[in-house]
């Protein structure tokens, strides 16, 4: 594992190693000195071409807890607004000696291209509608912490699958980890390629809910929509939103997840989002541990990958 570009690149052993490492590193968050010297002298660049709150702060906190030097780069206020290409920006980072680059970009595949241009490890922090592997890892971590296992769990991913990089990464990773994933969305919000994904598909949330151990709600990504994918927000919410009534029909042990940012009242009601069976805040906390684990495994060693 030299880069983390796709959740599908991880084998079961690698994914489990990341989750196990994250569990040990989570202890650091509870100590008075929330810092490890492990990545001292290493430089991590956060290259964010797209807006992000959670992911950027989470990567920054993770790198800092491991004592790496962090350089934050956002497209606004940089030479990108003067027309610099991704490749030239990459070469600049290369010349500055970045050991790791965390990239968020609106174009699918940007992280893969970047990995060809720089020597350091590249971590995909979301590329367009393609992938967001660290989100999938933190979701898997959260599920494992709450449910005790992943193997054999039934996970429903509900909402705007078509524009969601989180959905694709989660399907790939959860499948590797042995969970059964069902995607639930209106036909217009499913990607064309969905039949090649290792999961099943349903259009009916009410049918899937009682059979799910984990329900992951996704935001409707209006900013990526260039056409009308459903008649009205109200109609979408009635058919695919998780409200109190639907929540009551879920199994008692089932949990509700959301990668954020969430639109209360649209895909999830406030009452569900704030319930003790919702893991939304935990997911954010776990994100730091999981990203620490990823940075540790990619950057701490001799660079020849992970050992056992």
């Amino acid at each position: 594992m030299r880069h983390l570009l796709s959740a599908g690149d991880l084998t079961l052993d690698e994914a489990t190693l990341v989750l196990d490492t994250a569990k040990e590193l989570a202890q650091v968050g509870g100590r008075s000195v929330k810092k490890l010297p492990t990545l001292r002298g290493r430089t991590v660049v956060n290259l964010f071409y797209e807006d992000s709150t959670r992911t950027r702060i989470s990567f920054e906190a993770a790198a800092k807890r491991m004592s790496a030097d962090v350089i934050n780069f956002s497209a606004k206020g940089s030479s990108v607004s003067k027309g610099e290409s991704l490749k030239d920006t990459a070469l600049t980072l290369q010349a500055m000696g970045a050991d790791g680059v965390v990239i968020r970009h609106s174009a699918s595949g940007a992280a893969h291209r970047l990995a060809e241009w720089v020597d350091g490890a590249v971590v995909n922090a979301g590329d367009g509608t393609h992938e967001h592997p660290t989100q999938a890892l933190l979701d898997a971590y959260t599920i494992r912490e709450r449910m005790g296992r992943l193997d054999g769990l039934r996970v429903a991913v509900v909402g705007d699958i078509r524009h969601s990089r989180v959905a694709r990464s989660n399907v790939l990773l959860l499948n590797t980890l042995g969970a059964e994933v069902t995607l639930v969305a209106p036909p217009t919000l499913l990607p064309v390629s969905v039949r090649t994904w290792p999961c099943s598909v349903s259009y009916d949330l009410d049918e899937v809910l009682p059979k799910s151990d984990v329900v992951m709600m996704l935001r409707v990504q209006a900013e990526r929509m260039n056409a009308a994918f459903f008649p009205t927000a109200r109609e979408y919410s009635r058919r695919y939103g998780l409200d109190g009534d639907r929540f009551a029909r879920m199994p008692d042990h089932a949990i509700v997840m959301h990668p954020g940012p969430m639109i209360r009242g649209m895909e999830i009601s406030a009452e569900v989002a704030d319930s003790p069976r919702s893991t939304i805040v935990e997911q954010v906390a776990n994100g730091v541990s999981v990203r620490m684990a990823v940075l540790y495994l990619l950057l701490s060693g001799s660079g020849s990958g992970t050992g056992n």
Binding site: T21, Q27, L36, Y296, S300, G301, S302, G305, G307
Partner: protein
């Protein structure tokens, strides 16, 4: 390349300490700890992963038998504090378990199986520093094989074992390997420096390289 698996299992290694001798050494160390700390009122034993952990537990049990009260003990993982992380692929991280009393104001006795270069102990001191501020830190080891590379010494030693740098010291413990023994043998070829602690079954193989 021939993998001579049996080499590590004793055909070329010889045992320098057997089960009963290890027992006696630990009992002696337990008494020395009590003597030196004047009854061990606020001691905490911390075993350095992996070999030191069962030893810390055994020492705690022995002290408990003598003093008739419970002695807090735990485990310290020093992976993130090693000075050679860049020389090998990323290592799996172990669990640090600190007893509820914490380490602030306590007399912490670090416990390890083999004291060699002293680099593990250096890392353990750094790790401890991030966990709190002990009143004092002491070091107990089952075997001191010499060849220190840092100004570090043990307060309690089970056995001083003069070795050549080229030799290989392996500590086998009941809890991890099924039997107790300290073996000394010729150096294993270490091309590429495989992660040594788990390499060929022995747990405490020169834990502080």
């Amino acid at each position: 390349m021939h993998a001579r698996k049996h080499a590590d299992d004793g055909s070329q290694s010889r045992a320098v300490l057997e089960g009963p001798e290890i027992d006696r050494a630990l009992t002696r160390i337990a008494h020395e700890v009590l003597e030196r700390t004047k009854g061990g009122a606020d001691i905490t034993l911390l075993g350095i992963r992996t070999g030191g952990v069962p030893l810390a537990r055994r020492l705690a049990e022995r002290i408990e038998q003598v003093e008739n009260r419970s002695i807090p003990w735990g485990a310290l993982d020093i992976t993130m504090y090693r000075d050679d992380l860049r020389l090998a692929p990323a290592r799996a991280v172990g669990r640090t378990e600190i007893p509820a009393e914490g380490v602030d104001g306590r007399v912490v006795v670090l416990v390890d199986d083999v004291l060699f270069s002293g680099r593990t102990v250096r890392a353990a001191l750094d790790a401890l520093n991030d966990l709190g501020r002990p009143r004092a830190v002491q070091l107990a080891v089952l075997v001191d094989r010499g060849h220190r590379e840092l100004p570090i010494r043990a307060d309690y030693v089970g056995k001083n074992l003069p070795t050549s740098v080229r030799e290989n010291v392996t500590v086998r413990l009941q809890e991890l390997d099924g039997h107790d023994a300290v073996l000394i043998g010729p150096a294993r070829p270490r091309a590429g420096r495989a992660p040594e602690e788990t390499a060929t079954g022995g747990t405490g193989t020169e834990a502080d390289r």
